[in-house]
């Protein structure tokens, strides 16, 4: 048996759990740049709000009704996720973190599921203030079906134990609500008269393989109770990391592009060090606004394949700056000018720091640069982001100019668990 635990409106629930006055208040969490509502508390859902609605369209409607919105606070959500996983890991022998608010739990051999599951839900709520739902079934896909049904259950849990319970549960789930069935597949299944998970489970295997490839076949096997997807306790390491952002206004200004490349190169190097990784491939790209069809389009990129992996800010920003300069020079040579909308600095070919290849006779000496980067990380951690930065980014880190580089957060919340300076004070 396998269980999936899912937090109810996780981001919004985090805000409610850290601010007691928000209990019972409709709360929403907004996406990057405060664009759309991405997580809603049950009270917000009761007002009729739904996910992905653009906040600036609906704020006038919901704010007078008492709705409180917060910009996303990903570091805090991640910290809460770690706490949640630690708590849940106490109850089960094996656990796989699946996403920021979901995890799979191995329930094999557990006899008293009907008492354990409510106990886990109550304990988690007591220790974190976050409401979770749990679905238990013989396979991962069936567990996803169970958790879908748990949404309609007042106990926030649903257990599928045997074949007759599988059959009943599958009839209650539409194909578009199933795990691993996207919109295209759901439309195709509807066209072919397959509207429920129960009908998909009895569809001949040859047909499923032909129409939905091996991924669909696995889903079908799992619906029949045959385990195809096992618990993965050790996640694959990251394959690539990227940073970048659209400019507030399109620009062809060389200095602004170079400053942005330094800024994002610096951020990328920070991220690499946080993950204890080095990059052996760096890619820097610029993009014009593809929706402005009446303007000249240009998507130049520069790719650097490196013999030795790097993660120090001096080298990463050097490559980023070099790439932008070469693009600008090329444009000057060709006597063209483009208005760029977005810059991206992207690292791939990632390796763990301690497996970094050393090249014999190479004059490369990253040791001092790495040490300097670490010291700067420590200073910035204690004194605040951007306290030590490159001179040409001094302006970027000034508060009134920050919005041009860092995502807009008009409704911030304190970083109670990830920043000493913002932790709550007891008087």
């Amino acid at each position: 048996m396998v269980a999936i635990a899912d937090c109810v409106g996780f981001y919004a629930a985090w805000h409610q759990s850290t601010e007691p006055w928000l209990q019972g208040v409709p709360v929403v969490s907004l996406s990057n740049n405060d664009g759309c509502m991405i997580a809603l508390s049950p009270e917000a859902k009761a007002l009729g709000a739904s996910r992905t609605e653009p906040w600036h369209f609906v704020m006038d409607k919901y704010v007078p009704l008492g709705m409180v919105a917060y910009s996303s606070n990903y570091r805090e959500y991640q910290a809460m996720n770690k706490r949640l996983m630690k708590i849940l890991a106490r109850f089960v022998p094996r656990l796989e973190t699946y996403s920021i608010d979901e995890c799979w739990m191995d329930m094999s051999g557990v006899q008293n599921l009907s008492t354990l599951v409510p106990f886990i839900i109550n304990e988690t709520k007591k220790l974190t203030g976050i409401q979770i739902r749990i679905g238990v079934a013989p396979t991962k896909t069936l567990a996803k079906v169970a958790i879908h049904l748990a949404k309609q259950d007042p106990t926030n849990s649903f257990i599928i134990n045997n074949q007759s319970e599988i059959d009943t549960a599958l009839q209650r789930v539409a194909v578009e609500d199933m795990w691993n069935v996207g919109r295209q597949y759901a439309n195709m299944l509807h066209r072919n008269g397959i509207h429920t998970a129960a009908r998909l489970a009895i569809t001949p295997e040859w047909w499923v393989r032909k129409k939905m490839t091996v991924v669909g076949w696995r889903t079908q096997q799992e619906l029949r109770g045959n385990v195809c997807l096992k618990l993965v306790e050790v996640m694959d390491p990251k394959k690539n990391i990227g940073v970048g952002r659209s400019f507030k206004k399109t620009t062809s200004d060389a200095q602004q592009l170079i400053d942005a490349s330094t800024f994002y190169g610096y951020r990328l190097a920070e991220k690499l060090r946080e993950e204890k990784l080095v990059a052996t491939v760096l890619q820097v790209s610029l993009r014009t606004n593809k929706w402005k069809v009446d303007t000249a389009q240009h998507q130049p990129r520069r790719i650097f394949h490196l013999d030795t992996g790097i993660n120090n800010m001096i080298d990463v920003t050097r490559y980023a700056r070099h790439a932008i300069k070469s693009i600008i020079d090329e444009n000057l040579r060709n006597k063209v000018s483009y208005k760029y909308m977005k810059i991206e600095v992207f690292a791939s070919g990632l390796l763990p720091e301690n497996e970094n290849q050393i090249v014999i006779n190479d004059s490369y000496a990253a040791g001092s640069k790495n040490r300097l980067s670490r010291v700067i990380d420590d200073i910035n951690l204690q004194m605040g982001k951007g306290k030590v930065c490159f001179a040409n980014n001094l302006k970027a880190w000034k508060h009134d100019n920050l919005e041009a580089y860092i995502m807009r957060q008009q409704y911030p919340s304190p970083k109670y668990f990830t920043d000493w300076n913002e932790s709550p004070l007891l008087r």
């Binding site: 509807h190 072919n192 008269g193 009908r199 009895i202 569809t203 001949p204 047909w207």
Partner: protein, 97 residues
């Protein structure tokens, strides 16, 4: 023995439906068609002496049977007979007559 296989798309009850049609070979002048939806044969249609006979397949899984009973109506049968006739008469040399 399989004689011919083709598929049709119908606009039925406001939605698009895809159906596979298999014609089985018979020697007594009857034209037999199996209507397959989502990989499962749900209907048998026979054409003899200018008349159609239609049956829902007997040994369907209960889930498929329930869906099929809700799906098959006189309107669907009318659409299917027209579609099969149009396909065979216009697009093949194997006319339905």
């Amino acid at each position: 023995m399989l004689f011919n296989t083709f598929n049709i798309e119908l606009q039925y009850r406001g939605t698009l439906c895809e159906l596979d049609i298999r014609e089985a070979y018979t020697s007594d002048g009857t034209r037999n068609f199996e209507i397959i939806q989502g990989g499962i044969c749900i209907l048998l249609m026979m054409f003899k002496n200018g008349l159609w006979s239609v049956y829902i397949v007997d040994d369907l899984h209960p889930v498929a049977k329930q869906d099929t009973e809700m799906f098959v109506t006189d309107e669907l049968i009318e659409l299917l007979t027209q579609a099969i006739k149009t396909y065979l008469d216009c697009l093949t040399g194997n006319k339905l007559s």
